[in-house]
Symmetry: C2
Subunit: 344 residues, 2 copies
DNA sequence: GACAGTTTCGTAAACGTTTACGACGCTATA
DNA sequence: TATAGCGTCGTAAACGTTTACGAAACTGTC
């Protein structure tokens, strides 16, 4: 005899009552409820999840899909782990667990997601590394799985999302550089079709326009979001006919490679070329020169994701009545020494 | 009508036959099997996991537990993602999925694991960030959940594990530094009770002894495994009465902070203080000077973990007959410019 | 043509829960 | 005292699978 039956037999009551007692139903005597709770603790009983799931169609878990091979891999793990922590802080309030679903590099993300949905391992999903055209959105909509995206797609009105405020970053970064006398500002964005790059580039263009600076396509460097990508960016920048005096890097890891690339050519980052990057990480202050960058509380982003996701789940919608959430998350400028004024 | 019943009705055969056809049982006509497979594809049928789990007691998923707050967080995510990729390569051969279970920073890892075991979300587990005394081992043994640890504990004979060859690293690093004329070699290890530090420190002592160098406790710097920790290590090293001419760093991220700390004091890493670190990452070659460090194929480690885990699962033991696996994984020296010969 | 053996398939039980439904005993009211 | 209402609990069905068991049809052998 196992499971709830054992518990019921041990207490000489029916399994129905045991179940109701454990689940906090009102129609059970407080005295018996206490007996059940005590016995459960004593016998170490925990309800079998498969049984519950089968009966109620709910798994009490939400998934976070990520792609190791995606162009977000430039992010130190602190990025995702920080977000996880915030998400869990919200989920744990409702006895929900977070499981991370890593899509293997050699598997198609959409197929992977399809399988995960079919598996019914989780009740709801968070997807990350959104692309401009992301078939996963349609997949999730069709399957009626509540979800939220960390990052916008090309059709942001089709789904709930939370994204970082890349527009704000581009604006403030350009403003700051222009104020310091820079007129020729390069930008390094990921060469993949990850949406972040597109959004940032657009905002960069508009920021330039505000200052009456003509957009120059040749100042856009498409590269990988890694140290290697930063190194390559430096190489390209140095090779330009008119060398830009400043550059924006979308990933802080690129700064390491960029610094190195500059130095290998006898140039000094921060002096010969001003650098602004995001996101802030422990890295930023320990590079020399310290990196001017933008900070965001990943835990807060995670909390936002968690609450917004619950809001889109029928069972929790009344507790989180914010409806469909689509918002950008502000980032805060962190001044470093990498973007000093133009020397000449 | 839903699920397998719908499929059976659509084909006018029994659900038993449908199930057998889908699961590759031999006692089903090849023609009907084909019909079933086709219909399943057409109707988009995938078996409900809760139903299967309930019936066969198996979830077809294995878990990877990690702690965001643990002292391994110094690792760039490439570390774990690389490992995941290898694990998945093995698991996918058997239709098994990998789910990552991130323990929140404010939750006790052992309690978290207990909950995850009770939940029966997965058939087997990989645990990481092992401590000297790690109650999770006993927990898993008692629950009879097949598992393997990435990292040794203080009682390594109690469980299967795979770990990096820290002894080999310590040996070769010390040999190399000694060969270049260094006699005063500091070491920075994590201040937490994560087992890695203990193992490495022990191997470092023995390597020194082989060269007839007395172990000096004051040359051991306990710090956090992060850029900040590296910076602090530099600070401590500079403050020593007799400044060591070399240092071993257990995490490559520490090198960034260490370099900075040295430079803030007017010293040059690689010249004034030789540095060797592990693990190699993209970071290593783009730092200046390039970091001498040790490389390991994370994917291979993941493959090793996956195969060894399957070997300890009754259902797969005949396919992977290697028994209980306890082994260290070799690491390969990558020469950089951070550990040049002693100048004086 | 009887019989054994094989192939193929249907039937129904089982996995561990939750929950709708109804039964029972008790209290309070008329 | 009859009745209604309430609190408490037991019964049994249902969730979607897999699989043991047995039945039916077919094959081949003597």
């Amino acid at each position: 005899m196992k499971g709830i039956r054992r518990l019921a037999e041990h207490l000489s009551i029916s399994i129905g009552t045991v179940s109701r007692a454990l689940n906090g139903r009102p129609d059970v005597n407080e005295a018996t409820r206490r007996r059940v709770l005590d016995a459960a603790a004593e016998l170490g009983y925990v309800p079998n999840q498969a049984g519950r799931t089968l009966r109620q169609g709910t798994t009490n878990a939400v998934g976070f899909m990520m792609e190791a091979g995606a162009d977000t891999s430039g992010n130190p793990d602190n990025f995702f782990f920080g977000v996880f922590d915030g998400v869990q802080a919200v989920l744990s309030r409702h006895q929900l667990d977070l499981v991370v679903l890593p899509c293997a590099t050699d598997e198609d993300p959409t197929e992977y997601l399809r399988r995960m949905i079919a598996r019914r391992l989780v009740d709801a999903l968070i997807i990350s590394a959104t692309h401009r055209k992301d078939p996963r959105v349609e997949l999730l909509n069709k399957a009626h799985v509540p979800f939220i995206a960390l990052g916008r797609t090309g059709t942001p009105s089709d789904h709930p999302w939370i994204d970082l405020d890349f527009e704000g970053v581009a604006n403030r970064a350009v403003d700051r550089l222009v104020a310091k006398g820079h007129r020729s500002i390069a930008v390094a964005v990921p060469s993949s079709d990850i949406n972040l790059g597109v959004i940032f580039l657009q905002a960069y263009k508009e920021a330039l326009a505000r200052h009456g600076i003509a957009f120059d396509q040749s100042l856009v460097i498409y590269t990988s979001s890694s140290e290697q990508g930063g190194y390559q960016a430096a190489h390209e920048l140095i090779g330009m006919a008119q060398r830009p005096t400043a550059i924006l890097l979308v990933y802080e890891l690129m700064a390491i490679g960029f610094y190195r690339g500059l130095r290998d050519a006898g140039l000094n980052p921060g002096q010969d070329v001003a650098v602004i990057a995001f996101r802030e990480s422990p890295l930023s202050r320990f590079l020399s020169p310290a990196l001017t960058c933008f900070r965001v509380s990943l835990r807060d982003v995670g909390i936002g994701l968690g609450e917004s996701l619950l809001a889109s789940m029928p069972a929790y919608a009344d507790i989180y009545p914010q409806g469909i959430v689509r918002r950008v998350w502000p980032m805060e400028l962190v001044e470093g020494d990498s973007d000093n004024a133009r020397s000449s």
